[in-house]
């Protein structure tokens, strides 16, 4: 029970931080962490198949996609204002 409460608190905190932090890269990293915590939540909810999919997607795929987008954005900014 205490595990669930701690995990819920961590989920809420990382989500709020990811949505309100001014630094875009920090927001993306916090979102990746949010995905990892979601995988743990699925493991606690007796859904190992969803935990597997969320681990593959939340940890690997969406992290790579978002970091790639941030890198592209920074490159554009640097080209425009040298």
């Amino acid at each position: 029970m205490i595990f669930d409460l701690l995990l819920a608190a961590a989920l809420l905190w990382s989500a709020v931080q990811a949505l309100t932090t001014p630094d875009l890269f920090r927001a993306v990293v916090l979102f990746i962490v949010f995905g990892l915590l979601m995988a743990l939540a699925w493991a606690r909810l007796d859904a190992p198949d969803i935990a597997l999919a969320e681990a593959a997607i939340g940890a690997g795929l969406s992290g790579a996609l978002l970091l790639d987008a941030v890198g592209h954005l920074r490159q554009k900014r640097r080209e425009r204002s040298p």
């Binding site: 205490i2 595990f3 701690l6 995990l7 608190a9 961590a10 905190w13 990382s14 931080q17 932090t21 890269f25 920090r26 990293v29 916090l30 990746i32 962490v33 990892l36 915590l37 995988a39 743990l40 493991a43 606690r44 007796d46 190992p48 198949d49 935990a51 597997l52 681990a55 593959a56 940890a59 690997g60 795929l61 992290g63 790579a64 970091l67 790639d68 941030v70 890198g71 592209h72 920074r74 640097r78």
Partner: protein
């Protein structure tokens, strides 16, 4: 034994909460990413403990995927964001 597994899982989760603080602070982007990598490893350990505390053997497979795909985030970070030309504190 199940009680011990759950206690250790809670302990590792508290460790994760402490690492969240480093993500919020960390001066360079690499520090934030290192904390995220620690999240991955500790998450693997928590999943394994939960699997042996009655969660079923399928959670071991989830932990395997966790360990396998944590690399992709780091590789994307090093290749796409943390280039030489930008300064270290952006």
């Amino acid at each position: 034994m199940t009680d011990l597994y759950l206690t250790l899982a809670v302990f590792l989760l508290v460790n994760l909460l402490a690492a969240l603080w480093r993500i919020a602070r960390g001066p360079t982007p690499a520090d934030r990413l290192l904390a995220a990598l620690l999240f991955g490893t500790t998450g693997v350990a928590v999943l394994l403990l939960l699997a042996y505390a009655g969660g079923g053997a399928a959670l071991v497979d989830a932990a395997l995927v966790f360990a396998l795909l944590a690399v992709i985030t780091g590789a994307a970070f090093v290749r796409r964001i943390w280039r030489e030309e930008s300064n270290g504190h952006s």
